[in-house]
């Protein structure tokens, strides 16, 4: 299964989001064409209500622990409750690549 599909399925299952985007941003980075190494997720769910950002991000990291350990190099996380999202409707852009994954030994196994 594609990593992108896997991430989407897991986030849907755990958070029942009212809005979810899983964006493969790998093409903006120093990795081979078609890689699934850099992702940005936007998750809107009332599961986040009353939780601080660090708690929300820990939940997302935990949900995607296998993907983080074995497949993906970078994960941008943006979490909102339904109410917060209604005031915002957009997540920030990810920063530009500075080539950090070049020469990174851990990348080799993840890019298979």
């Amino acid at each position: 299964m594609k990593i992108q599909t896997q991430i989407t399925d897991k986030l849907n299952a755990q958070f029942s989001p009212t809005h979810l985007t899983v964006e493969n941003e790998s093409s903006q980075h120093n990795v081979p064409k078609g890689s699934e190494s850099h992702f940005k997720v936007v998750v809107v769910s009332n599961e986040f209500a009353g939780k601080r950002l660090i708690q929300r991000h820990r939940l997302v990291n935990g949900c995607l622990a296998d993907e983080l350990a074995n497949h993906i190099h970078a994960l941008a996380i943006h979490t909102y409750t339904v109410e917060e999202w209604s005031l915002q409707f957009a997540a920030p852009d990810s920063p530009n690549c500075l080539g950090g994954s070049k020469g990174d030994e851990t990348m080799k196994s993840k890019l298979n």
């Binding site: 950002l53 991000h57 622990a65 983080l68 970078a74 996380i77 990810s94 500075l98 080539g99 950090g100």
Partner: protein, 107 residues
């Protein structure tokens, strides 16, 4: 010294500490760059550790922190979060407030 003890010491001795890829002046990753720029704009001194130069710390910190990625910002011995959290707090003025509070505490 064991790596884990080195990590604990760094966190204990530096009240504002950023684990990042590269340095604030020469970051090697876009996320680390954004995080260090936000911190610099808060106008207080902070320590940093370049995890690309310290592969042992890079290997062990994620398990200790229960946080899989870098950068990681630690304030007052607690993990604040990674780039996205740092930026969101910075934009809301919460990062500045947290840093000011920490500086006053350790003054």
């Amino acid at each position: 010294m064991e790596t884990i003890d080195k990590i604990k010491q760094q966190i204990a001795e530096n009240s504002i500490l950023l684990y990042m890829k590269g340095s604030p002046k020469l970051p090697s990753c876009g996320f680390s760059s954004q995080a260090s720029q936000a911190l610099m704009q808060c106008g207080q001194e902070f320590a940093y550790v370049d995890i690309l130069q310290n592969p042992d710390i890079r290997a062990e910190l994620p398990a200790y922190a229960e946080w899989p990625t870098f950068p990681q910002l630690w304030i007052g011995g607690e993990l604040v979060g990674g780039c996205d959290i740092i930026m969101e707090m910075f934009q809301k003025g919460e990062l500045q407030a947290l840093i000011n509070e920490e500086v006053e505490k350790s003054a």
